[in-house]
Symmetry: C2
Protein backbone atom coordinates (compact mmCIF):
# COMPACT_ATOMS: atom_id res chain seq x y z
CA UNK A 1 0.00 0.00 0.00
CA UNK A 2 2.91 2.38 0.66
CA UNK A 3 5.33 3.28 -2.08
CA UNK A 4 7.86 0.55 -2.86
CA UNK A 5 10.78 2.41 -1.28
CA UNK A 6 8.88 3.00 1.97
CA UNK A 7 7.67 -0.60 2.08
CA UNK A 8 11.26 -1.84 1.57
CA UNK A 9 12.39 0.31 4.48
CA UNK A 10 9.56 -0.96 6.73
CA UNK A 11 10.45 -4.55 5.78
CA UNK A 12 14.14 -4.08 6.56
CA UNK A 13 13.41 -2.38 9.88
CA UNK A 14 10.97 -5.19 10.74
CA UNK A 15 13.83 -7.71 10.47
CA UNK A 16 15.68 -6.11 13.39
CA UNK A 17 15.34 -7.85 16.76
CA UNK A 18 12.51 -6.51 18.91
CA UNK A 19 11.00 -4.41 16.11
CA UNK A 20 7.47 -5.50 15.18
CA UNK A 21 5.51 -4.31 12.13
CA UNK A 22 3.98 -1.34 14.00
CA UNK A 23 7.34 -0.14 15.33
CA UNK A 24 8.92 -0.60 11.90
CA UNK A 25 6.22 1.60 10.40
CA UNK A 26 6.64 4.22 13.12
CA UNK A 27 10.42 4.32 12.65
CA UNK A 28 10.07 4.52 8.86
CA UNK A 29 7.75 7.54 9.14
CA UNK A 30 10.14 9.09 11.62
CA UNK A 31 12.98 8.68 9.12
CA UNK A 32 10.78 10.17 6.37
CA UNK A 33 10.24 13.24 8.50
CA UNK A 34 13.90 13.70 9.47
CA UNK A 35 16.18 15.95 7.45
CA UNK A 36 18.24 13.99 4.89
CA UNK A 37 21.41 14.62 6.93
CA UNK A 38 19.95 13.17 10.13
CA UNK A 39 18.49 10.11 8.40
CA UNK A 40 21.61 9.43 6.35
CA UNK A 41 23.77 9.64 9.48
CA UNK A 42 22.14 6.40 10.64
CA UNK A 43 22.75 4.78 7.24
CA UNK A 44 26.37 5.91 7.38
CA UNK A 45 27.04 4.59 10.91
CA UNK A 46 25.80 1.17 9.75
CA UNK A 47 28.16 1.28 6.77
CA UNK A 48 31.10 2.42 8.94
CA UNK A 49 30.51 -0.37 11.46
CA UNK A 50 30.35 -3.00 8.73
CA UNK A 51 33.54 -1.64 7.19
CA UNK A 52 35.67 -1.03 10.28
CA UNK A 53 34.38 -3.35 13.00
CA UNK A 54 34.86 -7.08 13.17
CA UNK A 55 35.77 -9.68 15.75
CA UNK A 56 39.12 -9.70 17.53
CA UNK A 57 41.23 -12.45 15.95
CA UNK A 58 42.33 -13.57 19.42
CA UNK A 59 39.32 -13.28 21.76
CA UNK A 60 36.33 -12.57 19.42
CA UNK A 61 35.39 -9.43 21.26
CA UNK A 62 34.45 -6.41 19.13
CA UNK A 63 37.55 -5.03 17.42
CA UNK A 64 37.78 -1.88 15.37
CA UNK A 65 40.28 -1.52 12.55
CA UNK A 66 42.33 1.54 13.59
CA UNK A 67 41.77 4.59 11.35
CA UNK A 68 44.29 4.90 8.55
CA UNK A 69 44.86 1.17 8.16
CA UNK A 70 43.45 -0.99 5.42
CA UNK A 71 40.28 -2.64 6.65
CA UNK A 72 40.68 -5.42 4.07
CA UNK A 73 43.67 -6.81 6.00
CA UNK A 74 43.31 -9.73 8.40
CA UNK A 75 41.03 -9.41 11.45
CA UNK A 76 42.32 -6.86 13.98
CA UNK A 77 42.95 -7.34 17.69
CA UNK A 78 40.65 -5.69 20.21
CA UNK A 79 41.85 -2.94 22.54
CA UNK A 80 42.06 -5.26 25.52
CA UNK A 81 44.19 -7.87 23.72
CA UNK A 82 46.46 -5.07 22.45
CA UNK A 83 46.93 -3.62 25.95
CA UNK A 84 50.37 -4.75 27.25
CA UNK A 85 49.32 -4.13 30.88
CA UNK A 86 46.74 -6.94 30.79
CA UNK A 87 47.78 -10.29 32.30
CA UNK A 88 47.85 -12.80 29.41
CA UNK A 89 47.85 -15.83 31.74
CA UNK A 90 44.21 -15.38 32.88
CA UNK A 91 41.24 -15.62 30.51
CA UNK A 92 37.68 -14.70 31.42
CA UNK A 93 35.23 -16.60 29.20
CA UNK A 94 31.99 -14.71 28.49
CA UNK A 95 29.05 -15.17 26.14
CA UNK A 96 28.84 -11.78 24.42
CA UNK A 97 30.83 -8.56 23.93
CA UNK A 98 28.40 -6.77 26.26
CA UNK A 99 29.56 -9.12 29.05
CA UNK A 100 33.13 -7.89 28.52
CA UNK A 101 31.85 -4.39 29.23
CA UNK A 102 30.03 -5.61 32.35
CA UNK A 103 33.19 -7.24 33.76
CA UNK A 104 35.35 -4.24 32.79
CA UNK A 105 33.02 -1.94 34.72
CA UNK A 106 33.90 -3.76 37.96
CA UNK A 107 37.55 -2.62 37.54
CA UNK A 108 38.44 -5.85 39.37
CA UNK A 109 39.82 -7.78 36.42
CA UNK A 110 43.16 -7.31 34.68
CA UNK A 111 43.36 -10.46 32.51
CA UNK A 112 42.17 -11.05 28.99
CA UNK A 113 38.82 -12.34 27.66
CA UNK A 114 37.40 -14.95 25.36
CA UNK A 115 33.99 -14.22 23.86
CA UNK A 116 32.07 -17.40 22.95
CA UNK A 117 29.50 -15.41 20.94
CA UNK A 118 26.62 -17.31 22.47
CA UNK A 119 25.77 -20.10 24.90
CA UNK A 120 24.76 -23.73 24.43
CA UNK A 121 21.01 -23.81 23.85
CA UNK A 122 19.58 -26.97 22.28
CA UNK A 123 16.11 -25.32 22.01
CA UNK A 124 17.57 -22.62 19.75
CA UNK A 125 19.70 -25.17 17.88
CA UNK A 126 22.95 -23.78 19.32
CA UNK A 127 25.39 -26.59 20.03
CA UNK A 128 29.02 -26.27 21.20
CA UNK A 129 30.18 -26.25 17.56
CA UNK A 130 28.42 -22.89 17.00
CA UNK A 131 30.48 -21.22 19.75
CA UNK A 132 34.13 -20.10 19.71
CA UNK A 133 35.21 -23.07 21.84
CA UNK A 134 37.78 -24.53 19.46
CA UNK A 135 39.39 -21.09 19.30
CA UNK A 136 39.55 -20.97 23.12
CA UNK A 137 41.28 -24.36 23.34
CA UNK A 138 43.76 -23.29 20.67
CA UNK A 139 44.77 -20.26 22.77
CA UNK A 140 45.64 -22.10 26.00
CA UNK A 141 49.07 -23.47 25.17
CA UNK A 142 50.56 -20.75 22.88
CA UNK A 143 49.49 -17.96 25.25
CA UNK A 144 50.57 -19.78 28.42
CA UNK A 145 47.13 -19.47 29.98
CA UNK A 146 47.06 -20.63 33.62
CA UNK A 147 43.49 -19.84 34.67
CA UNK A 148 40.19 -19.90 32.81
CA UNK A 149 37.34 -18.08 34.59
CA UNK A 150 33.97 -19.33 33.35
CA UNK A 151 31.92 -16.16 33.40
CA UNK A 152 28.88 -17.23 31.36
CA UNK A 153 25.46 -16.14 32.62
CA UNK A 154 24.12 -17.90 35.74
CA UNK A 155 21.11 -19.27 33.84
CA UNK A 156 20.33 -22.63 32.21
CA UNK A 157 22.24 -21.95 28.98
CA UNK A 158 25.19 -20.27 30.68
CA UNK A 159 25.49 -23.00 33.31
CA UNK A 160 25.31 -25.71 30.64
CA UNK A 161 28.03 -23.96 28.67
CA UNK A 162 30.23 -23.60 31.77
CA UNK A 163 29.77 -27.30 32.64
CA UNK A 164 30.60 -28.32 29.10
CA UNK A 165 33.75 -26.17 29.06
CA UNK A 166 34.78 -27.44 32.51
CA UNK A 167 34.55 -31.04 31.27
CA UNK A 168 36.73 -30.17 28.25
CA UNK A 169 39.31 -28.30 30.30
CA UNK A 170 39.53 -30.82 33.14
CA UNK A 171 42.19 -32.87 31.34
CA UNK A 172 44.34 -29.82 30.60
CA UNK A 173 46.89 -28.11 32.88
CA UNK A 174 44.79 -25.02 33.62
CA UNK A 175 42.91 -23.89 36.69
CA UNK A 176 39.20 -23.63 35.90
CA UNK A 177 36.95 -21.41 38.04
CA UNK A 178 33.29 -20.35 37.85
CA UNK A 179 31.96 -17.00 39.04
CA UNK A 180 29.93 -17.17 42.25
CA UNK A 181 26.14 -17.16 42.26
CA UNK A 182 24.36 -15.75 45.28
CA UNK A 183 22.38 -12.86 46.63
CA UNK A 184 23.01 -9.53 44.90
CA UNK A 185 24.70 -6.90 47.06
CA UNK A 186 22.00 -4.75 48.66
CA UNK A 187 19.52 -7.59 48.15
CA UNK A 188 17.02 -8.88 50.62
CA UNK A 189 16.74 -12.49 51.86
CA UNK A 190 12.97 -12.16 51.95
CA UNK A 191 12.72 -11.32 48.25
CA UNK A 192 15.41 -13.70 46.95
CA UNK A 193 14.10 -16.55 44.81
CA UNK A 194 14.79 -20.00 46.22
CA UNK A 195 17.26 -20.96 43.47
CA UNK A 196 19.44 -17.94 44.13
CA UNK A 197 19.25 -18.44 47.90
CA UNK A 198 20.09 -22.12 47.41
CA UNK A 199 23.15 -21.16 45.36
CA UNK A 200 24.15 -18.60 47.97
CA UNK A 201 24.05 -21.27 50.70
CA UNK A 202 25.90 -23.78 48.54
CA UNK A 203 28.64 -21.22 47.82
CA UNK A 204 29.01 -20.09 51.48
CA UNK A 205 32.53 -19.22 52.61
CA UNK A 206 34.21 -19.30 56.00
CA UNK A 207 34.73 -15.90 57.58
CA UNK A 208 38.09 -14.83 58.96
CA UNK A 209 41.33 -16.65 57.93
Amino acid sequence: MYSAAVQDLIDELGRLPGIGPKSAQRIAFHLLRLSPEDALRLARTIAVVKERVSWCRRCFNIAEVPEGTNSAEEAPECEICRDPRRDPSVVCVVEEPRDVIAVEKTREYRGRYHVLQGAISPIDGIGPDKLRIRELLARLDPEGIKEVILCTNPNIEGDATALYLASLLKALPVKVTRIASGLPVGGDLEYADELTLGRALEGRRELGD
Copy 2:
Protein backbone atom coordinates in the same frame (compact mmCIF):
# COMPACT_ATOMS: atom_id res chain seq x y z
CA MET B 1 33.38 1.53 26.37
CA TYR B 2 32.64 0.07 22.92
CA SER B 3 34.67 1.08 19.91
CA ALA B 4 33.82 4.51 18.55
CA ALA B 5 32.06 3.15 15.45
CA VAL B 6 29.86 0.81 17.48
CA GLN B 7 29.04 3.54 20.00
CA ASP B 8 28.07 5.90 17.14
CA LEU B 9 25.73 3.24 15.78
CA ILE B 10 24.16 2.62 19.21
CA ASP B 11 23.68 6.39 19.64
CA GLU B 12 22.01 6.78 16.24
CA LEU B 13 19.72 3.80 16.81
CA GLY B 14 18.82 5.18 20.26
CA ARG B 15 17.47 8.34 18.59
CA LEU B 16 14.75 6.37 16.80
CA PRO B 17 11.27 6.49 18.36
CA GLY B 18 10.57 3.64 20.77
CA ILE B 19 14.19 2.44 20.84
CA GLY B 20 15.75 2.68 24.31
CA PRO B 21 19.45 2.25 25.10
CA LYS B 22 19.11 -1.52 25.66
CA SER B 23 17.27 -2.08 22.37
CA ALA B 24 19.76 0.12 20.53
CA GLN B 25 22.60 -2.03 21.87
CA ARG B 26 20.81 -5.24 20.94
CA ILE B 27 20.12 -4.02 17.39
CA ALA B 28 23.73 -2.82 17.00
CA PHE B 29 25.06 -6.26 17.98
CA HIS B 30 22.56 -7.86 15.64
CA LEU B 31 23.87 -5.69 12.79
CA LEU B 32 27.46 -6.57 13.74
CA ARG B 33 26.60 -10.23 13.41
CA LEU B 34 24.78 -9.91 10.07
CA SER B 35 26.59 -10.40 6.78
CA PRO B 36 27.72 -7.09 5.26
CA GLU B 37 25.11 -7.47 2.48
CA ASP B 38 22.22 -7.89 4.91
CA ALA B 39 23.31 -4.99 7.12
CA LEU B 40 24.04 -2.68 4.22
CA ARG B 41 20.62 -3.42 2.70
CA LEU B 42 19.08 -1.54 5.64
CA ALA B 43 21.49 1.36 5.14
CA ARG B 44 20.63 1.43 1.45
CA THR B 45 16.83 1.41 1.96
CA ILE B 46 17.22 4.46 4.20
CA ALA B 47 19.26 6.23 1.53
CA VAL B 48 16.75 5.29 -1.21
CA VAL B 49 13.81 6.56 0.83
CA LYS B 50 15.54 9.86 1.53
CA GLU B 51 16.41 10.22 -2.15
CA ARG B 52 13.16 9.14 -3.78
CA VAL B 53 10.38 9.71 -1.27
CA SER B 54 8.97 13.03 -0.22
CA TRP B 55 5.56 14.59 0.38
CA CYS B 56 2.97 14.92 -2.37
CA ARG B 57 2.94 18.56 -3.47
CA ARG B 58 -0.86 18.52 -3.47
CA CYS B 59 -2.01 16.46 -0.48
CA PHE B 60 1.19 15.86 1.60
CA ASN B 61 0.75 12.12 1.54
CA ILE B 62 3.87 10.03 0.88
CA ALA B 63 4.93 10.41 -2.74
CA GLU B 64 7.67 8.53 -4.51
CA VAL B 65 9.59 10.07 -7.39
CA PRO B 66 8.98 7.63 -10.28
CA GLU B 67 12.09 5.68 -11.32
CA GLY B 68 13.99 7.24 -14.18
CA THR B 69 13.03 10.80 -13.33
CA ASN B 70 15.28 13.33 -11.69
CA SER B 71 14.61 13.35 -7.96
CA ALA B 72 16.00 16.89 -7.68
CA GLU B 73 12.95 18.24 -9.55
CA GLU B 74 10.00 19.74 -7.69
CA ALA B 75 8.03 17.60 -5.24
CA PRO B 76 6.11 14.77 -6.96
CA GLU B 77 2.41 13.95 -6.73
CA CYS B 78 1.30 10.83 -4.85
CA GLU B 79 -0.33 7.90 -6.63
CA ILE B 80 -3.82 8.83 -5.43
CA CYS B 81 -3.58 12.44 -6.65
CA ARG B 82 -2.25 11.17 -10.01
CA ASP B 83 -5.13 8.69 -10.42
CA PRO B 84 -7.67 10.21 -12.88
CA ARG B 85 -10.46 7.96 -11.56
CA ARG B 86 -10.48 9.68 -8.15
CA ASP B 87 -13.15 12.33 -7.57
CA PRO B 88 -11.29 15.66 -7.14
CA SER B 89 -14.31 17.40 -5.60
CA VAL B 90 -14.17 15.48 -2.29
CA VAL B 91 -11.22 15.73 0.12
CA CYS B 92 -10.73 13.52 3.14
CA VAL B 93 -8.58 15.28 5.75
CA VAL B 94 -6.42 12.93 7.84
CA GLU B 95 -3.58 13.37 10.31
CA GLU B 96 -0.93 11.02 8.92
CA PRO B 97 -0.08 8.98 5.79
CA ARG B 98 -0.97 5.79 7.71
CA ASP B 99 -4.54 7.12 8.01
CA VAL B 100 -4.73 7.31 4.22
CA ILE B 101 -3.94 3.58 4.14
CA ALA B 102 -6.62 2.93 6.77
CA VAL B 103 -9.30 4.75 4.75
CA GLU B 104 -8.15 3.14 1.48
CA LYS B 105 -8.54 -0.30 3.04
CA THR B 106 -12.29 0.31 3.48
CA ARG B 107 -12.61 0.55 -0.36
CA GLU B 108 -15.49 2.95 0.38
CA TYR B 109 -13.82 6.18 -0.60
CA ARG B 110 -13.08 7.44 -4.13
CA GLY B 111 -12.11 11.07 -3.46
CA ARG B 112 -8.74 12.58 -2.71
CA TYR B 113 -6.94 13.23 0.59
CA HIS B 114 -5.22 15.96 2.50
CA VAL B 115 -2.64 14.89 5.09
CA LEU B 116 -2.24 17.44 7.89
CA GLN B 117 0.95 15.72 9.14
CA GLY B 118 -0.17 15.93 12.74
CA ALA B 119 -2.96 17.17 14.98
CA ILE B 120 -3.33 20.22 17.19
CA SER B 121 -1.75 19.40 20.55
CA PRO B 122 -0.86 22.33 22.81
CA ILE B 123 0.88 19.96 25.26
CA ASP B 124 3.34 18.91 22.53
CA GLY B 125 3.63 22.48 21.27
CA ILE B 126 1.81 21.68 18.01
CA GLY B 127 -0.39 24.60 17.00
CA PRO B 128 -2.42 24.97 13.78
CA ASP B 129 0.56 26.69 12.10
CA LYS B 130 2.59 23.44 12.33
CA LEU B 131 -0.02 21.54 10.27
CA ARG B 132 -0.70 21.66 6.53
CA ILE B 133 -3.85 23.75 7.03
CA ARG B 134 -2.86 26.71 4.87
CA GLU B 135 -2.17 24.26 2.05
CA LEU B 136 -5.65 22.73 2.49
CA LEU B 137 -7.36 26.12 2.26
CA ALA B 138 -5.34 26.96 -0.85
CA ARG B 139 -6.63 23.81 -2.59
CA LEU B 140 -10.36 24.45 -2.15
CA ASP B 141 -11.00 26.97 -4.87
CA PRO B 142 -8.54 25.93 -7.62
CA GLU B 143 -9.55 22.26 -7.33
CA GLY B 144 -13.30 22.95 -7.13
CA ILE B 145 -13.61 21.05 -3.85
CA LYS B 146 -17.26 20.65 -2.74
CA GLU B 147 -16.94 18.48 0.37
CA VAL B 148 -14.29 18.27 3.09
CA ILE B 149 -14.54 15.15 5.27
CA LEU B 150 -12.80 15.70 8.60
CA CYS B 151 -11.29 12.30 9.27
CA THR B 152 -8.89 13.12 12.11
CA ASN B 153 -8.69 10.65 15.00
CA PRO B 154 -11.67 10.59 17.41
CA ASN B 155 -9.49 11.61 20.37
CA ILE B 156 -8.79 14.93 22.10
CA GLU B 157 -6.21 16.15 19.56
CA GLY B 158 -8.10 14.92 16.51
CA ASP B 159 -11.40 16.38 17.72
CA ALA B 160 -9.75 19.73 18.49
CA THR B 161 -8.21 19.76 15.01
CA ALA B 162 -11.56 18.92 13.40
CA LEU B 163 -13.33 21.67 15.37
CA TYR B 164 -10.67 24.19 14.42
CA LEU B 165 -10.90 23.26 10.73
CA ALA B 166 -14.72 23.34 10.85
CA SER B 167 -14.61 26.90 12.22
CA LEU B 168 -12.24 27.96 9.43
CA LEU B 169 -14.29 26.29 6.69
CA LYS B 170 -17.70 27.49 7.94
CA ALA B 171 -17.43 30.77 5.98
CA LEU B 172 -16.47 29.01 2.75
CA PRO B 173 -18.77 27.43 0.14
CA VAL B 174 -17.89 23.80 1.00
CA LYS B 175 -19.81 21.09 2.78
CA VAL B 176 -17.93 20.04 5.93
CA THR B 177 -18.56 16.61 7.48
CA ARG B 178 -17.00 14.68 10.35
CA ILE B 179 -16.68 10.87 10.48
CA ALA B 180 -19.06 9.20 12.91
CA SER B 181 -17.97 8.08 16.35
CA GLY B 182 -19.77 5.15 17.93
CA LEU B 183 -19.56 1.51 18.85
CA PRO B 184 -17.17 -0.54 16.72
CA VAL B 185 -18.83 -3.16 14.51
CA GLY B 186 -18.85 -6.45 16.41
CA GLY B 187 -18.54 -4.50 19.65
CA ASP B 188 -20.45 -5.08 22.83
CA LEU B 189 -22.55 -2.48 24.68
CA GLU B 190 -21.45 -3.93 27.99
CA TYR B 191 -17.78 -3.32 27.28
CA ALA B 192 -18.08 0.05 25.55
CA ASP B 193 -16.60 2.97 27.46
CA GLU B 194 -19.10 5.65 28.40
CA LEU B 195 -17.59 8.28 26.07
CA THR B 196 -17.94 6.05 23.03
CA LEU B 197 -21.46 4.99 24.03
CA GLY B 198 -22.34 8.65 24.58
CA ARG B 199 -21.09 9.51 21.10
CA ALA B 200 -23.00 6.58 19.65
CA LEU B 201 -26.24 7.85 21.23
CA GLU B 202 -25.56 11.41 20.14
CA GLY B 203 -24.95 10.25 16.55
CA ARG B 204 -28.05 8.03 16.40
CA ARG B 205 -29.82 7.88 13.07
CA GLU B 206 -33.43 7.19 12.13
CA LEU B 207 -34.02 3.76 10.63
CA GLY B 208 -35.96 3.33 7.39
CA ASP B 209 -36.53 6.23 4.99
